[in-house]
């Protein structure tokens, strides 16, 4: 088994040059050339509870983060590095934004509680909390925690989630979606769209999606409430979505 590169047409030299110069135009080029990967991953997660547009925004911002952080000297392909980064941000997005679930209310409530508990415990511990620690913090059993994680199917990959039309195979719908996404024009519209945001929104978007801070961390850094951060992020994402839609 082997995977190919995110964009096989991106020469290694370009990554090396960008790492050395941090040239913004090179950065734009690298982001643009790899937007297809972000969009395909967004599609992979788009079946449950969250719109593709929102997920594509999150994935695209994560892609920018991956481009900025990628070290071409390490023996890791960009596609591998970026896929991990993008999936991490998509998971975080689902935790922050909730879900649409077919699960008992107590499990839904537990899952929602887990979203904040994982963030706060993780912040305090400096690492990802264990199930036993989450059980202790929430007062639920470890089995209930595992069940709630499973029920949080918002970020279950779309692949095996959809029964599909009669006769369709598990892979059929995915393949069709991937091809459709690949066909989308991949001009980079993020940078100018970001530049159009008010200063504070732009700073918050950068802290959230480039620096990877949680909403709570941003709130204490900027000096506003977490709820206010949440609203500003939602507004900014809506603006970016409009720019995205207008440009496609």
């Amino acid at each position: 088994m082997s995977g190919d590169a995110g964009n096989p047409h991106t020469p290694h030299e370009l990554w090396v040059k960008f790492a050395a110069t941090r040239d913004p135009s090179l950065r734009d080029q690298l982001v643009t050339e790899n937007l297809g990967l972000a969009r395909r991953l967004a599609h992979r997660f788009a079946h449950r509870g969250q719109s593709y547009d929102d997920l594509a925004q999150v994935a695209s911002m994560a892609l920018i983060k991956a481009v900025d952080r990628y070290d071409p000297e390490r023996n890791v392909k960009f596609s591998t590095f970026a896929t991990g980064t993008i999936i991490g941000e998509l998971k975080r997005h689902f935790r922050d934004r909730g879900w649409s679930v077919r699960a008992p209310r107590r499990i839904q409530e537990l899952y929602l509680e887990l979203g904040t508990t994982i963030e706060s415990l993780g912040h305090g511990l400096g690492r990802s909390p264990k199930v036993s620690e989450l059980a202790k913090a929430t007062g639920a059993s470890e089995e209930a925690i595992v069940e709630a994680i499973e029920a949080g199917q918002g970020y279950r990959s779309a692949s095996l989630d959809a029964p599909g039309a009669a006769g369709a195979t598990l892979g059929d719908s995915l393949a069709a979606e991937d091809v459709a996404v690949t066909l989308i024009d991949e001009r980079s519209v993020l940078e100018p769209a970001l530049a159009s945001l008010p200063d504070r929104n732009r700073v918050i978007m950068k802290l959230r999606f480039i620096d990877g801070l949680t909403q709570s961390e941003i709130a204490s850094q900027v000096g506003i409430s977490q709820m206010h951060v949440s609203r500003l992020l939602a507004t900014s994402l809506a603006q970016l979505r409009e720019a995205f839609t207008a440009d496609l």
């Binding site: 992979r44 590095f81 896929t83 690492r127 692949s159 195979t169 892979g171 995915l174």
Partner: protein
């Protein structure tokens, strides 16, 4: 010392919850952090997709091995007629990308005349 858990079920999307739950439960007992558990759930799903491919019939065989701080999952498909299934094209490519990004090792071998795809994920050091 290791624990081995085997799971067998027909190729049906509604039963894949079993594959994910088993992975999550074992990883939880191996003291994996929540991020690693979530990754493992995703990977097991992608592993099944990569093996099942376009097959609509057959039986998925999963073997989970839990060792100290390490989970290995092997997945194979059996069906009457002998084809062992394989996803093709974009879908498989994306499955492999996700697997490659989220596990420590992955590969293929033959088990009982069936092609088995496997992944191995270690507990993150920071979570131990």
């Amino acid at each position: 010392m290791s624990d081995v858990v085997e799971l067998t079920f027909p190729v049906r999307s509604d039963l894949l919850v079993l594959a994910r739950l088993t992975a999550a439960a074992l990883a939880s007992r191996a003291d994996f952090g929540i991020e690693d558990i979530e990754d493992l759930r995703l990977v097991v799903e992608e592993l099944c997709l990569s093996v099942v491919g376009n097959e609509t019939n057959g039986t998925i065989h999963l073997q989970y091995t839990r060792e100290d701080g390490l989970i290995t999952v092997g997945c194979s498909l059996s069906r009457e007629g002998g084809s062992d299934g394989r996803a093709d094209g974009e879908a498989n490519d994306m499955s492999l990308r996700i697997i490659e990004a989220l596990v420590d090792e992955y590969g293929e071998n033959m088990v009982a005349d069936r092609r088995q795809a496997w992944i191995r994920k270690r507990r993150s050091k920071v979570a131990s």
